[in-house]
């Protein structure tokens, strides 16, 4: 009985500290173009950021994108992890934002083949309830590249 109560108390303590932490999470829209391919990929992803702070954060995303048949493969799925650093207050937009830099890495697959990739986003703007990235550069394991023209992450929590 003592052991059972001890386990329950440990689980409650661990989970309460976990849920008390200020997680960020929401959905993400992305617009990508790949080297040597006409068409572009329109993506929807889920995103969580369990570790986030003013100057450093760690997030995970998973989702899919489609080119509506204009590129090959027509659709693909991806999972990634990203870190962002820096926090420079800016009034570039109509309300205050924080300029950041993000680095991410992940895997894309259409379930027939897969690619590892790394990405750098030099223009990341955090507004509190959303993050906007423009002109991200992605390098793939086959030495090709892609441009993430625009990425919008809207946080639900």
């Amino acid at each position: 009985m003592k052991r059972f109560i001890g386990v329950i108390i440990t689980i409650v303590l661990l989970s309460s500290s976990l849920w008390a932490a200020p997680w960020l999470g929401g959905y993400r829209l992305s617009f990508d173009g790949y080297e040597g391919q006409e068409g572009q990929y329109y993506g929807v992803h889920l995103y969580v950021e369990p570790v986030w702070g003013t100057n450093l954060g760690l997030g995970f995303a998973a989702g899919g994108s489609t080119s509506f048949g204009l590129s090959s493969p027509s659709s693909q799925f991806e999972a990634s992890a990203e870190i962002h650093a820096l926090s420079v207050e800016t009034m570039l937009f109509r309300r205050p934002s924080q300029w950041r830099i993000a680095l991410s890495g992940g895997i894309s697959t259409d379930f027939d083949s897969y690619h590892y990739w790394g990405q750098i986003d030099p223009f990341v703007f955090f507004f509190g309830e959303k993050t906007v990235k423009v002109l991200g550069l992605r390098l793939l394991d086959d030495r090709s590249w892609a441009i993430r023209l625009l990425e919008i992450t809207h946080y639900f929590f």
Binding site: G33, Y34, Q37, V134, L135
Partner: protein, 165 residues
Amino acid sequence: MKRLSIFFLLLLASALLFAVPVALSFETWNSTTITAPAASVGVSIGVLPNLEVQGAFFGELAPSVGNRIGGVGTLTIGAVNPHYYADPTRAPLYFNALVGLGYLGGWNTANAEPFGTIFLRLTPLSLGASYYRSRERTFGFGVGYDHYANQWSFIVNLFAFDRYL
């Protein structure tokens, strides 16, 4: 291209001279004519309170950088509200919707052919104005007619940003 650059420089210089609102603009482009991700960088000049002229250099970013290059020119009116008032102390509404008539044209370096589209565009969500020093335009969409290929196409500007000087 040299003439175009001189034209834009003259336009910018004369706008600053006559103290009308001038913004540096960044805009993303999607179109059935363009097919790949593209962006434009240029200026937006409020020549009249309810008429804005936009001129920008345009480039495709994939499948290769500069696959299609060219320019964009647009005449835009505010559908809800003027872009600004002649009285500079009077604030326009923060929200506006925009209707624009424009031309997107240039050169396709991949197949060495020109392209050109006349388009009509509605931007339902425009937040900010010259009075507020910056503006964001989202979900702009419209129809265009490619007079080289003789076909209609859709044009989408998901996100555009203007920073007033």
